[in-house]
Symmetry: C2
Subunit: 580 residues, 2 copies
């Protein structure tokens, strides 16, 4: 028993123990297969997202080795694939191109500082038990943000497929005509070929194989090889074209092996670079955490596993610090990769450990083969992966379901496109909180009466109920706080104006679990005002903790009326019977 | 009837019509008396608060004429005394001494721009119906802010009573010794004399007169003359001392008559000055509005009158614009002055109209008498008025009643003292919202069972109730939103782990008035997860609007279980009877 307890508490810190205890041979067979498939996807993704972030390709590869290993030890999701992701990549690009950051030079060092800082921020959030922060980003805001960021990524990748650089035309339409004329026809053909190959593997081939009765597992495996095969084939073609003297943008030399585990990033984080990058790191940490937990929950729900948000902060935080120490870009859980891993049959994080080992082998021995990978093919891979994330229709659905949420989604999307990534998400969060406070400021309140021949009290607007002369029964359906007490006060004043003969007011506190200081002050002056007007204020059905709290103050002593246990008691004592 | 309707709708825009319609001769007698008393207080306050803000004395006097007249026409409080106030004065001082603002020179112009901008901000808030913004500042934050600002004012006025300038010693203790040695003994004597006079009138004399059986109204009148008498007597003494060649800091020349109504402030607001001052104006508008409404409510409650927050924004907004156009500093409702006006018997804003006329007469004909008013006497008047606003003990009371509110109050106070006025209030507001969201993220949820022989369902932790095998009844006591849905999900997962045999979950929606998009998404994936685990999700007692909203989506169609009108129906159908 003692032993069990120890293991239990240790597994809280190292969730890997949970599944290692019962790990079976069949699990390993499943994980091995899924690990290989995920690794096949990770190589092109790692290189592509690195370039998307404006970094040399190896930063994405390094980020695919140590970080998923650390997450496997510490994270609570069994199938989340941690590594470079597209949304984080565009956020890194946004940070690196900010004028003050760009002026510092050395974007590689900046990216590594971002990894370190976002990791530390996540750990701090874990220590302060701020996993609940995920609440501050509602789904509509997250969807709007993701769509906006995906559109920005598409905007950045489309020129690559034409062999063009990012345009600098602003709103000058004529300029775009000249700009587009500079496109490279070989690159365009290459892009079309890559797109055809990808669609063949992801759409056509699975349908075909399914009709042929091939096992689903094999279909999954084949369809997920599309990106790697595309890269291999286009690289071969490009190598031949380059030999013929054609000019096509390629990845370039990727250094073989690993950088030394670097500690100087620590000292650099404390200087000017660290200070400038801190706000960007905070946004990356927030989004990386929120998106990862959302993805982890999807797969966990499908297998009745449980995600512990605070432990996720630790797992992702340490993974990002590991990224920094091994010279990688910031990491998060990737949606498409996790779904691939899951549908390839991964049982546990062993799959990701296997993928990490394969990536390490690739970095050590295959880097010469990466040099001639065409950027256009990577852009096409990104475009195919990112397009489903643009969900413009959901804005209409959200709007139809909840107008406020629809506005928040649209504003966040537009904010990201027009103002920028960080500004957009900030705007969305502020809107959500403001709308939440507005709703919270209008609590449900009802004037109630007694359902005849019972002791039940119901809204006089909805039920035929008995009421009494001189007696006003008011049920407040929420805790009394600074946010809603003004509304409640207004409601009471209005009701008293409508029923000027009222002598006794009974506030029914069935649903009141707390009264904060602002609300208490308001109740005190209400009590005073009623006293001045010769009326009494009474309370019924107050919960124990609420009464305990009120007993600490003078309020109950100065109360003009009484505290009743049941509303029925109040009515018996204060209601003038016979008059309805 | 038509006539009445017209008057009614007009009186919404001009609340003055409300009381003018029934204005009586006796009302005028009361208002005349109160107006004279308030004017007697306004002259020294206007000059003192101007100087406190770092401005020439006339800006406070001008702010005491046109602004209260506009408020009398448009405001909903019958006794609020609008004019220069101490808290706004220290906020103006904070704006004017900010390096970027100070660098522009011409503090008078800056102060007038602040009046204009805060007036426009208030009107904008009125148009956008943001009167509810007052909710964002809880009482503890307001109290903490007021105490902090009052301490800053005390710190700025104490040196004046010793004839010293503001020290610039920082934390160098030795420096303070040298600094204090520079005090002026004549000024100190003058200050002690002024203090004695003030206390005589405010404390000793009323007690004495009361014992002698003098009418309360006379006592009020006499006691409120203290400040003016103090100013008159010390000015006479100082005039004599100045003739003898002594050097004592005095107010200096106050120009006679009025400045021309100035429009150039409008253009200046659009330039660099206006831009720099805008955030300060926003804070002044917010605090001026919140404090004014709080004060207006105190007196309105005592006479069962009603304050309309949005109309207050219009009244105060126009008053501030009037201040700008007549060359005055920003205005708000003053606590001490309003209480003086009220206790002197003011029935309506006619009292303030009378006071404004008296002030205009004073500015036209008495300004030569203001030259030799000693600054020390004004400092003593401010100190006596401001000291009661420092409420350090309430922090302990607040802490004892509600820990979170106590922290917010203390942090706001310290924030104002250490970080600055604007930073302090911002910190307090953010803390309040964060703590509100934290509380909102933990809604009340209960597993319920049936009270035997009834159809009532109660918390199984608090009541002896029937429960059923395979059936989990869960009552959620709040609307489902992005803020709390994670907590609810966690709760369900934990309960399911504790009762793994559960086959049917019934969510009781009695208290659920809304389900936002984030919560709907969570319910959908919960439904999916339960389906995967062979369990059903059911809903009971959902309100009409909630069901209407859900019917717009696929949720109800994909629901694994059913929607029951009453929990009783769900139990009859899903509960395995006989097993308890």
């Amino acid at each position: 028993m003692m032993m069990f307890d120890n293991t239990y508490s240790l597994s809280r810190f190292l969730p890997i123990i949970d599944w290692l205890k019962t790990y079976q041979r069949q699990d390993f067979a499943d994980d091995l297969f899924a690990g290989i498939i995920t690794a096949i996807l990770l190589v092109p993704q790692g290189i592509a997202y690195s370039i998307l972030a404006g970094l040399p390709p190896q930063l994405g590869l390094y980020a695919s080795i140590l970080p998923p290993i650390m997450y496997a030890l510490l994270g609570t999701s069994r199938t989340l694939s941690v590594g470079p992701v597209s949304i984080a990549a565009i956020m890194i690009a946004s940070a690196l191109t900010a004028p003050a950051v760009a002026a510092l030079g050395n974007p590689v060092q900046s990216a590594i500082v971002l990894s370190l800082e976002s990791g530390i921020i996540m750990l701090l959030m874990a220590v302060l038990r701020m996993g609940g922060l995920v609440n501050f980003i509602s789904h509509p805001v997250l969807t709007g943000f993701t769509s906006g960021a995906a559109l920005l990524i598409i905007g950045s990748q489309l020129p690559q497929t034409l062999g063009l650089k990012t345009p600098s035309c602003g709103i000058d339409i004529a300029c775009y005509t000249t700009y587009l004329q500079g496109f490279n026809s070989t690159t365009l053909l290459l892009s079309i070929g890559a797109l055809a190959l990808l669609l063949l593997f992801s759409q056509l081939l699975p349908t075909l194989l399914k009709k042929m009765g091939v096992k689903p597992v094999i279909i999954t495996a084949v369809s997920k090889c599309g990106p790697l095969l595309t890269v291999v084939l286009t690289t071969i073609v490009v190598s031949l074209l380059l030999n013929e003297g054609q000019s096509i943008a390629v990845v370039g030399v990727v250094p073989a092996g690993f950088p030394e585990l670097s500690m100087n990033v620590m000292t650099d984080s404390l200087g000017q670079r660290g200070k400038l990058l801190l706000p960007y790191a905070a946004f990356i940490a927030l989004i990386a955490y929120v998106e990862s937990v959302a993805i982890a929950k999807v797969t966990a729900n499908l297998r009745s596993e449980k995600i512990i948000p605070n432990q996720e902060l630790i797992g992702l935080g340490v993974a990002n610090i590991a990224a920094a120490l091994s010279g990688g870009m910031p990491v998060a859980g990737g949606f498409s990769r996790t779904m691939v891993n899951f549908s390839a049959g991964a049982r546990t994080q062993m799959a990701m450990l296997i993928a990490a080992v394969l990536l390490a082998v690739a970095v050590m021995f295959c880097s010469p083969w990466f040099t001639n990978i065409p950027k256009a093919a990577l852009a096409v891979i990104i475009l195919v992966a990112i397009t489903p994330l643009v969900k413009l229709k959901t804005i209409l659905h959200t709007w139809a379901y909840d107008r406020g949420d629809g506005i928040a989604e649209a504003v966040t999307l537009l904010g990201v496109l027009v103002l920028g990534i960080e500004e957009g998400i900030m705007l969305g969060i502020m809107l959500t909180i403001a709308s939440h406070l507005r709703k919270a400021s209008q609590p449900h309140i009802a004037v109630v009466g007694r359902v005849p021949d019972t002791e039940h009290y119901r809204n006089i607007k909805r039920h035929h109920v008995e009421t009494w002369h001189h007696l006003l029964l008011i049920r407040i359906d929420e805790s009394l706080t600074f946010a809603n007490i003004n509304y409640i006060e207004e409601f009471l004043v209005t009701e008293l104006k409508r029923q000027p003969d009222t002598k006794h007011i009974v506030l029914i506190f069935t649903s009141v679990s707390d009264i904060d200081t602002t609300a208490l002050d308001a109740l005190e002056s209400l009590n005073q005002a009623l006293q001045a007007a010769g009326k009494t204020l009474n309370i019924s059905e107050a919960k124990g903790p609420v009464l305990d709290k009120l007993h600490k103050t003078d309020f109950l002593r100065q109360l003009t009326g009484q505290v009743f246990f049941r509303t029925e008691d109040a009515v018996k004592q204060l209601g003038v019977t016979g008059i309805q």
